[in-house]
């Protein structure tokens, strides 16, 4: 199967998961960022934990196709901050913005239009602004196990175990007791 077809299938499953899981729902995202509705946060946490565990198992069996991004600390920090501002303003990110537009949200379509302009400005300022910043504190494509010398298993297993316990312990509380009362 060509990678194009695989991309289409994987993307289809991803888009369906984002929608059905409430990540492609700006109200759920803002609820999480405001610490009033933990559904999206919990979904994201399970997403990351399962992904981490599965990727580790794939790696051990020599079947992982990894693509580690360069740790350009300054550029990544600035980028995270800018994305965070847009994320907190709209409740969308690139993937969920596209998914929300596909589910009938016209405001998401407007946000996606803004994204194309953001990409254009990125291209235009890339040589003069982005490249110099990207070179600062750049540790290249490195993972936490590589830079610390601590094997991947000693990261993955504790994170997954602690994360799972935390999700279970906090699960009942956030769902049943009405921990967060609606104001207004």
């Amino acid at each position: 199967m060509s990678t194009h077809v695989i991309g289409l299938i994987v993307g289809g499953l991803f888009g369906a998961g984002l929608f059905l899981g409430g990540l492609a729902d700006p109200d759920k995202i803002i609820g999480t960022l405001r610490l009033k509705d933990f559904h999206a946060l919990r979904t994201i946490a399970v997403f990351v934990l399962v992904g981490m565990l599965g990727t580790w198992i794939l790696e051990l069996s020599g079947m992982a196709h990894l693509s580690v991004k360069p740790a350009a600390i300054l550029a990544v920090s600035i980028g995270g901050a800018l994305l965070g501002i847009g994320f907190g303003l709209t409740g969308y990110c690139p993937g969920t913005g596209l998914a929300c537009a596909a589910s009938g949200r016209i405001d998401a379509l407007v946000t996606v239009a803004g994204m194309f302009i953001g990409a254009l400005v990125f291209i235009l300022i890339y040589p003069a602004v982005v490249q110099p910043i990207d070179a600062i504190a750049n540790y290249e494509k490195v993972t936490l196990p590589e830079i610390t010398g601590i094997a991947a298993g000693f990261w993955v297993v504790p994170i997954v175990v602690v994360g799972t316990i935390a999700l279970i312990l906090t699960g009942k509380k956030s769902e049943n007791t009405g921990l967060i009362q609606a104001e207004k």
């Binding site: 993307g11 998961g17 409430g22 609820g31 794939l58 079947m63 400005v121």
Partner: protein, 178 residues
């Protein structure tokens, strides 16, 4: 006028998270980790190549092969749109709307206001995502799956600025279906 209550998601958090995690494992097992935002640059790069080939060919970023072809990542984004559309229809949740519950409880029903800030937000989202070499998918979810060092500063600044912005923009809390 929509009911101003945040509805439950179609799937519970554990099922959705498990499903998304398995999609990530599938992606990494077959081709490459999940990522979305690069393709916005690819689409723009295609247009620039068509308009001003000389500029594009000398550009340190978009002269690269990765930004000149519609590959796996492009089709992943197309699939994402199709998958979300089909899921929304099948779940009976496809609905034309232009505003959100959280926005309306603070800012009222003006769609124009939502659009203006939505557009500005989109601009920051993609500009930031490319500065960071990835977005919430490619840098956060895939970054942590691979234990990338880059995911650490990204997570800190994205959530700090995301929470601060949401706190300032959305002070009033709507009813949330539990």
């Amino acid at each position: 006028m929509e009911d101003l209550i945040v509805k439950k998601s179609p799937l519970p958090w554990w099922a959705a998270g498990l499903f998304l995690g398995l999609v990530q494992v599938l992606a990494i097992g077959l081709v490459k980790p999940l990522g979305v935002s690069t393709q916005f640059v690819v689409a723009d790069a295609k247009i620039i190549h068509a308009i001003d080939k000389e500029y594009a060919d000398q550009h340190p970023l978009i002269s690269g092969e990765k930004y000149q072809k519609f590959g796996y990542g492009w089709w992943l984004d197309i699939g994402l749109v199709a998958g979300a559309f089909i899921a929304a229809v099948l779940a009976g949740r496809w609905k034309l709307r232009a505003n959100t519950v959280w926005w309306q409880v603070t800012h009222g029903t003006s769609v124009a206001k939502r659009f203006i800030f939505g557009f500005i937000g989109g601009f920051f989202i993609l500009l930031g995502a490319r500065f960071a070499h990835g977005c919430t998918s490619g840098q956060f979810a895939s970054g942590w799956a691979q234990l990338s060092l880059s995911a650490v500063p990204f997570t800190v600044t994205m959530f700090a600025f995301g929470m601060l912005t949401a706190y300032l923009v959305y002070p009033k809390v709507p009813k949330i279906e539990r």
